[in-house]
């Protein structure tokens, strides 16, 4: 039995190594995704250009402007003369934010009366604008703190916030687990459904079914190489995350790998299920792209938080395996939790796997009847 299985696996590896498309999906995609998410899609920024409208034009306001630039996040592009000039920079896209300092800035600041600084941002890019305002607010607070410490004013409440598990709010902490979930799903589910659909399309599936091989062995022989390769891919992404983007693995490595393996199994069963519902490779491709990739990317909490979605979408998100796997990964990698904290998610994945396998089995039986 084992020899027959190995004959199958060898054949499958020939297919994989000789097909450029498969190779590209297998090895190009994980790399491209990690690098794109790592370097391009990021909420962090450096050297954001801002304009300043300084009505005060005194020592304090100058100190404040210098303080803003000291972090390296902001560079003052232009000091504006009047309110009229404000929109020009914004419209041309050269500046993302304008800080307006009132005339009596210094006076109010030292007398302890409420001081207001106006911040105007480019709302056509809301994510970016939000982040910029957050950074600027933080810088303003820290300016206040340094100044207050110099003055004898005892009344100041200072909010010290700390982001547990991700102190720098690095976006890599989010995209590495997300990327692993996506890549495993794509490779396992899409390639598995494709390779089985291909055998059906070229007619070799019939030959295999007429042979003494049991259907189970045929499926296992077909998916085993993909399971192995995608598991390898998961390890590579974790390593890139660790060494290139400093994403830690705080929990047990064995548990992490075990979880990856469980998820590979879920994705494989999903791929097998898809393959039982299609006749051609094209159909398999469409089903896995539209049915898996898009929802997994958008509704799994990878890019947009589930909790802030409309109820309907939130429930759809809860049907997606990636949702649970991302939670597991974040738990094990970033918070360092053990199995007892992720039991629910593990249970859901197990149930899903079982469900997909049962559905596939039923479809398969119907085909033979």
């Amino acid at each position: 039995m084992f020899k027959v299985f190995m004959a199958f696996v060898r054949k499958e590896f020939y297919h994989i190594l000789r097909d450029k498309r498969t190779l590209l999906i297998l090895f190009g995609m994980p790399l491209a995704q990690v690098l794109i998410f790592g370097y391009a899609v990021t909420n962090e920024f450096k050297d954001a250009r801002i304009d300043v409208l300084d009505y005060a034009k005194d020592e304090t306001s100058e100190q404040y402007i210098n303080h803003l630039q000291s972090s390296g996040n902001f560079i003052v592009r232009k000091v504006l003369a009047s309110q009229k000039d404000m929109e020009a920079g914004m419209k041309s896209g050269k500046t993302k934010l304008v800080v307006s300092i009132p005339e009596n800035f210094s006076e109010d600041f030292y007398s302890g009366s409420p001081t207001q600084i106006q911040v105007i941002t480019d709302g056509s890019d809301p994510n970016n604008a939000n982040t910029l305002v957050q950074y600027l607010t933080e810088m303003t607070r820290s300016f206040q703190r340094t100044k207050r410490n110099e003055s004898p004013n005892p009344y100041s409440i200072h909010v010290a916030s700390r982001m547990l598990y991700n102190p720098q709010l690095a976006s890599a902490y989010n995209f590495v687990p997300g990327t692993i979930a996506l890549i495993l799903l794509i490779i396992c589910a899409m390639l598995t459904s494709l390779t089985i659909a291909k055998e059906k399309e070229i007619g070799t599936m019939e030959i295999l079914l007429v042979s003494p091989l049991s259907p189970l062995l045929i499926i296992l022989g077909k998916v085993a190489p993909y399971a192995l390769l995608s598991f390898g891919n998961a390890v590579i992404v974790i390593l890139i995350g660790f060494f290139v983007f400093d994403v830690p693995v705080l929990g047990s490595t064995v548990l992490l790998l075990g979880m990856c393996f469980l998820y590979v199994f879920t994705a494989l069963s999903l791929g097998i299920f898809i393959s039982t519902t299609v006749k051609t490779q094209q159909e398999a491709m469409m089903k896995s792209l539209m049915g898996l990739m898009m929802p997994s990317m958008l509704l799994s909490g990878f890019i947009f938080p589930l909790a802030s979605m409309p109820t309907v979408l939130e429930y759809i998100g809860k049907l997606i395996p990636a949702t649970y796997f991302i939670r597991i990964l974040k738990g094990v990698m970033l918070r360092g939790v053990g199995l007892n904290f992720i039991l629910f998610e593990v249970g859901v994945l197990l149930m899903m796997t079982l469900g997909f396998l049962l559905l596939s089995w039923r479809n398969f039986k119907i085909r033979l009847e």
Partner: protein, 227 residues
């Protein structure tokens, strides 16, 4: 019933819902015979063959292939038959040798057996020079004959051929039938479906299928006299 009958079918029927694809067919096939199933597309030839090869479960009726029951012992039957489908059934991206090795492998042949089989097939088909080339690069006629040889890699008693010469030019078809005769001379039973009238003449006996039923069954010469 005599021992030399390798296929015995009685009242075999296949229904898909209300549609009766194969309607109570009965026939026997002798060992070493070339038995043809002639009929238009959709007459039920393929469905009948699928029931005999264990790809599809009969709705009713009885059938024995190589001495085993098609309903209960399809696994035993599978070890003793070869099958070549309408669609070209080799892997185009694998080489000639890799294809032989794979199919030998799934039928549980040992390494030595596979090696012997490979050189035997390459020699017989005069494919030794292209043994390391992908099957994709071969002309269709060669592919077809290779697929036939590969379907017999495990020395089956019966070979089922489902429209093996579909879409091939007459010259290649003639070559292919020579290969069928060779296999038959070795004592192998050949069960072949076709919709070419001229091909039916090559068979020892043919049965003509019309909308799921066998309308005539005899040797080509007798059938000619009848009609």
């Amino acid at each position: 019933m005599r021992n030399t009958q390798v296929i015995q079918v009685e009242g075999l029927t296949k229904k898909f819902g209300d549609f009766v694809a194969v309607d109570h067919i009965s026939f026997e096939v002798e060992k070493g015979e070339i038995f043809g199933f002639l009929g238009a597309n959709g007459a039920g030839k393929t469905t009948a063959m699928r029931m005999l090869t264990g790809l599809s479960k009969p709705s009713s009726g009885k059938g024995k292939v190589a001495g085993f029951d098609v309903l209960k012992e399809s696994e035993r039957i599978k070890e003793r038959i070869g099958y070549m489908s309408q669609k070209f059934s080799l892997y185009e991206d694998l080489t000639v040798k890799e294809n032989i090795r794979f199919y030998g492998g799934i039928y549980g042949l040992s390494k030595n057996q596979i090696r012997t089989k490979t050189s035997q097939i390459l020699e017989e088909l005069q494919l030794s020079e292209v043994g390391a080339k992908p099957v994709r690069s071969l002309p269709l006629g060669w592919k077809q004959r290779l697929a036939f040889a590969v379907s017999m890699v495990h020395e089956p008693e019966i070979v089922f051929l489902d429209e093996p010469t579909g879409g091939v030019d007459p010259n290649v078809r003639r070559q292919f039938w020579e290969a069928i005769y060779q296999a038959s001379e070795l004592g192998r039973t050949i069960f072949v479906t076709t919709h070419y009238m001229d091909e039916a003449e090559y068979c020892d006996r043919i049965s003509i299928m019309v909308s799921g039923m066998i309308k005539a069954l005899d040797s080509p010469d007798n059938l000619k006299k009848q009609f």
